[in-house]
């Protein structure tokens, strides 16, 4: 790798930030598999150094004008040149910092959560693998490198979801997640190839530059944009490929917090940011993205209304918030998507970690159960949970309000009002489903008249034994930090906008501030919380949601709009029993059959001919004579 040897510090920091988790992964996997303490320490140490480097890079380049790119020659094959290196600009540095901070906090949290689990060193190894893949994905200078780490992130999510592989449901969920994201990756790979064909190389800066738009016909540009958007749909669990995320909750809760809420699923949105100018050139792709974002946001919110498993609620809310970000980006508001991604990462991780503490102590995922077992007694987690839910709902002082407001303003600038109406309705639903579990846990109904415990999806208990109080504080400390972040991140809007704005992209519209939009947003948020209070918080409320009153709707949402049934039917009927059964029969009967048939045929003719030789002597003489006569006659033809 002919990289110009480290003269400046930035490159060293970038290298350290990305490669250290890889080293810890290799060291843990090869040498310290049997010493959990050492492997945990190793991976947290590596993560802390990468965190420091990420933060150092962030403030070192706070005022950078043009992006920094380092590229070393990695693989040359004929006309294709695949370099390996780093692309540092505000988009990637911000994301790098987000990933590093949340990764570090969750690794600390996991010390407490996973204590006593036999596979802890394997857990930390896979976590370091994920962090290496995610960090390198973020700073990838070319789509090749991004695609490579995109797949590696998918692999680590498979390994972490299926961490407790003894549970059949965990390995099943891991397989489902991997295949669905892989389907998206296939689309993305095709989109990449289309660009490669026309551009010659896949460096991101060149893709974003107008030069590409000049080379490709608009129709082809839209097609490749749509294909790459397919990859985003796969990774960020948008409309068609969304059902793997709620199943991914089988994994340990810190994994859900890190991967399936803030960082991994956000990779899709990050890719959108990364190629924003490229997407911007094809308006049809933007409208299609807008449609997909809205659809998945609404569907996910409706699913969150009915489910009883606390982690699944936050999983659905992640899908809907990602839908929000994509709507924001597709509406052309570049900074709104990026800012919402940052704030969402913080409060969603906080939500998961709080519910992790609850699950960890009471060993059940069901919100009614948690309520009855005295969830309210744990003061710190419940407080942070309320803050995070408030941010999710978009209540004013919290970060969620600012970032969601930006998105709504972006949508307001669009000509067609339907997107804005859908977004506002979504905001209302979000507020409602955010506070439903909070009130159920805070104001549990006594044993009498409780709706009998039945959970829509069979969520088996988390695999963790009771713990001493020392772990309590290990898990508590990250919560407080994250709660602080959700509180003050909202106020960092202006400096962040300035930081992101430096490389403001041409053609991005300025964002106006219609006043009535701000008030409607607040009213809807408070209205949602009030409705939730009405149905769950009040003393005499029956704790039955307005949706659960209509059984048909209830079942529809509980069954995830029958998407899972469709996929199950498709994989089982079409692929398994249909096409591959057809091919297998063809293989056995037609191809193999014909070859065995030929060989049996020769053996039969052999037997026939050998019988011919057993006749009387005189037949042989006759045969000789006749053949020679025939050969003689042949002369005349």
């Amino acid at each position: 790798m002919a990289v110009p040897w480290v003269s400046d510090l930035t490159l060293l920091a970038a290298i350290l930030a990305t490669l250290l988790p890889l080293c810890s992964f290799l060291v843990v996997m090869l040498f310290t598999r049997s010493h959990p303490r050492i492997s945990a320490g190793l991976s947290i140490g590596a993560m802390s150094v990468s965190l420091l480097c990420a933060l150092f890079l962030l403030n070192e380049h706070w005022h950078m004008e043009k992006p920094l790119e380092y590229a070393g020659r990695w693989l040359v094959s004929g006309s294709i040149e695949i370099p390996f290196g780093f692309l540092l600009d505000p988009v990637s540095l911000l994301m790098l910092a987000v990933v590093a901070v949340i990764g570090f906090l969750i690794q600390i949290y996991s010390l407490g959560y996973m204590a006593g689990d036999p596979g802890i060193s394997r857990y930390y190894a896979f976590m370091s693998l994920f962090l290496w893949a995610m960090m390198s994905l973020v700073v990838a200078p070319t789509l090749f490198q991004l695609y490579i780490f995109w797949e590696l992130v998918g692999l680590s999510s498979y390994l972490l979801i299926g961490f407790w592989y003894e549970k059949f449901s965990a390995s099943q969920a891991g397989k489902k997640a991997f295949i669905m994201t892989r389907a998206g990756d296939v689309a993305m790979f095709l989109g990449m190839l289309l660009i490669l064909l026309h551009l010659g190389n896949l460096s991101i800066l060149e893709i974003d530059s107008p030069a590409l738009a000049a080379r490709m016909s608009p129709r082809l540009l839209t097609l490749s944009a749509l294909l790459i958007f397919g990859g985003i749909i796969g990774k960020s669990a948008q409309f068609p490929l969304m059902t793997w995320l709620p199943d991914a909750m089988q994994g340990p809760t810190p994994v859900s917090a890190l991967l399936h809420s803030s960082t991994m699923v956000a990779a899709g949105v990050y890719l959108f940011e990364r190629l924003f100018p490229f997407f911007f050139f094809s308006p049809d792709a933007m409208t299609f993205g807008l449609f997909i974002g809205t659809l998945s946001m609404l569907l996910a919110s409706t699913m969150a209304l009915v489910t009883r498993d606390i982690k699944e609620i936050w999983a659905y809310s992640t899908i809907s918030q990602l839908g929000y970000m994509i709507m924001g980006l597709d509406a052309g508001a570049f900074f709104s998507g990026a800012f919402h991604l940052t704030t969402h990462a913080a409060f969603k991780a906080l939500l998961f970690l709080c519910s992790g503490v609850l699950i960890h102590t009471f060993e059940t995922n069901d919100i009614y159960e948690l309520g009855r077992k005295g969830g309210r007694s744990l003061k710190v987690p419940m407080a942070c949970c309320c803050i995070a839910a408030g941010a999710l709902a978009g209540l004013p002082p919290l970060s969620g309000f600012f970032s969601k407001g930006l998105i709504l303003e972006g949508l307001a600038d669009l000509s067609n009002p339907v997107w804005l109406i859908a977004a506002l309705f979504g905001a209302f639903l979000t507020a409602y489903y955010a506070f439903r579990p909070i009130f159920i846990i805070l104001f549990p109904r006594e044993a009498s008249g409780e709706p009998e415990v039945h959970s829509a999806t069979s969520t088996s208990k988390d695999h963790s034994a009771g713990h001493s109080s020392s772990h309590y504080w290990l898990m508590g400390w990250p919560l407080i930090l994250l709660a602080g972040a959700t509180l003050c991140l909202g106020f960092l809007k202006a400096p962040l906008e300035h930081f992101m704005g430096q490389t403001a992209l041409p053609g991005v519209k300025g964002i106006g501030h219609p006043v009535w939009l701000l008030y409607t947003e607040i009213i809807l948020a408070v209205g949602g919380v009030g409705l939730a209070w009405m149905e769950f918080g009040r003393r005499c409320a029956q704790q039955v949601g307005f949706v659960e009153k209509i059984p048909a709707l209830h079942r529809l949402f509980a069954e995830r709009w029958y998407l899972d049934h469709f996929y199950g039917w498709f994989v089982d009927r079409v692929i398994d029993r249909g096409v591959s059964a057809l091919f297998t029969q063809n293989d056995h009967r037609v191809i193999d059959g014909s070859i065995d048939g030929i060989s049996r045929g020769t053996v039969e003719t052999g037997r026939l001919i050998s019988h011919m030789h057993l006749g009387m002597v005189q037949y042989r003489l006759l045969a000789m004579f006749v053949v020679m006569v025939l050969l003689a006659f042949y002369f005349f033809f």
Binding site: V617, M624, F635
Partner: protein
């Protein structure tokens, strides 16, 4: 010094006479006869080697001695020596007639030597009949008389019928051209090739050799004779008389073949049919010797490809293939004789457990089978390779393709034999085969020859090529 040219034949005549005297002494000394026969055979080989470089012609230009004939005489003498080598017990022959075996073997070899170098149709006919008749009797001497007599009769009837057809062919040739001397015919025939009578006559004339080589219409005797005859006699028929048939066919076609397409087509038809019939029939065989018979028919088909391509490469290929057949077939018969030492017929499954009973024989069988199948590092492959190259030079692509398909079919039953030897476990516990030192040496030497001729075929090929030059 003319008689020096004739020395191999004279030697074998004297040997035959000596055995005639011995057979008249009455009492049977099996060991003594065997030792004398072995000594005489080896001496015969020495004489042939000595006379290898001789050139000249005898009996007023009807008996040609050149490298071609001398090489084949050497091959025939080596074949005889090998066959005599495995005649130590001769359990397959009735005790009373054991004298006659050597008495008839030596004249038969003498006849084949005469056949090889005579270039006058009458000489060819007489020597062919002499060798056939001695073989008819040898086949009939089997201890189990029912098999022996049936095989002898069938062999006799088919043989005599074929020689009658050959004679008629000769007559037509003589009638239309006026001469029986092959050298003169070689000048006259190219002009007359358009006449039906001449070509049919030539074809009928060759039918005698087709019978000897067991080519398609004349191969009906092969299966029954191999099964009916004693193992040693079957070995002799499979090796020595095949080599002689190839020799005389090559000489006749080389000198008389000429340019007529019809003749090439007929030979091609015969070769394809005999290949296919031989291979297909061999698949369904249970008895080992019957299977070997059909495989010989198939090999006759392969040799015919070499002969019909009518170029020096083709003839050299046929000569090389003759050498290969001699070694390959003899090795399989050596294994057969040692496994079925009591002279009874052996089933293919009778080879069961051979790898345990005697690893050396099993290895020899494996190498021989792969060589018969024509797999590379062995002499069989080089033979086939030369023949196919020659055929390809004449543009017979389809013929080569059919031949290769036949090779694959033949591999099936060779692998079945290998399976029997290496995989099957014998039902009753058979004792390990104890081989005498010379036999072990012979088996090892054969394996070495087969593999060495496959890997370094250069010298043998040059010998065959020079022999083929002399023909034109």
């Amino acid at each position: 010094m003319k008689w020096m040219l004739f020395s191999p034949e004279i030697f074998y005549l004297l040997a035959a006479l000596c055995f005639l005297l011995l057979s008249m002494t009455g009492r049977l000394h099996r060991r003594r006869d065997h030792h004398i026969a072995l000594a005489l055979a080896v001496a015969g080989v020495a004489v042939c080697v000595a006379s290898l470089q001789l050139e000249g012609s005898l009996f007023s230009e009807t008996y040609k001695i050149d490298l071609f004939s001398q090489v084949f005489k050497l091959l025939l003498s080596v074949g005889l020596a090998l066959v005599v080598g495995i005649c130590s017990e001769l359990r397959g022959i009735q005790e009373r007639y054991e004298h006659e075996v050597y008495l008839l073997l030596f004249p038969c070899t003498l006849a084949t030597m005469l056949l090889v170098s005579s270039i006058h149709w009458l000489g060819v006919y007489v020597s062919l009949e002499l060798s056939s008749y001695s073989l008819y009797i040898l086949v009939a001497l089997r201890k189990d008389w029912t098999q022996g007599i049936e095989a002898g009769l069938k062999y006799f009837l088919v043989g005599v019928f074929a020689s009658a057809m050959m004679l008629f062919g000769m007559v037509i040739l003589y009638g239309t051209t006026g001469t029986l001397d092959v050298k003169q015919l070689a000048q006259i025939l190219p002009g007359l090739m358009s006449h039906a009578a001449v070509v049919v006559g030539l074809l009928l004339a060759l039918s005698g050799f087709f019978f000897k080589l067991a080519v398609f219409p004349f191969h009906f005797w092969a299966a029954d004779v191999y099964q009916g005859a004693a193992h040693q006699i079957a070995a002799y028929i499979a090796t020595v008389s095949k080599v002689a048939a190839i020799a005389v066919l090559v000489r006749m076609v080389a000198m008389l073949g000429g340019s007529s397409d019809y003749f090439v087509h007929v030979l091609a038809v015969l070769s394809v049919v005999s290949m296919t019939v031989g291979n297909l029939a061999a698949i369904a065989q249970k008895d080992l010797k019957r299977l070997l018979a059909y495989s010989t028919v198939a090999h006759a088909g392969y040799v015919l490809i070499g002969i019909l391509s009518m170029n020096p490469g083709g003839y050299a290929g046929a000569i090389f293939y003759a050498m290969a057949i001699l070694v390959m077939k003899f090795t399989v018969f050596l294994v057969l004789v040692k496994v079925a030492w009591d002279g009874t017929n052996l089933e293919v499954d009778g080879l069961a457990g051979l790898h345990r009973r005697s690893p050396l024989l099993a290895m020899a069988l494996m190498v021989a089978l792969f060589s018969l199948a024509g797999l590379p590092p062995t002499v069989g492959f080089t033979g086939k390779f030369l023949i196919f190259t020659a055929a390809m030079e004449r543009g017979h692509f389809a013929l080569v393709l059919i031949a290769m398909i036949n090779v694959v079919i033949s591999l099936y039953y060779y692998l079945l034999m290998l399976r029997a030897a290496y995989l099957l476990e014998p039902q009753e516990q058979c004792s390990p085969l104890s081989l005498s030192a010379p036999i072990k040496l012979l088996a090892g030497a054969l394996v070495v020859v087969m593999v060495a001729a496959g890997i370094f075929p250069r010298y043998l090929m040059d010998l065959a090529r020079n022999a083929a030059q002399g023909l034109m």
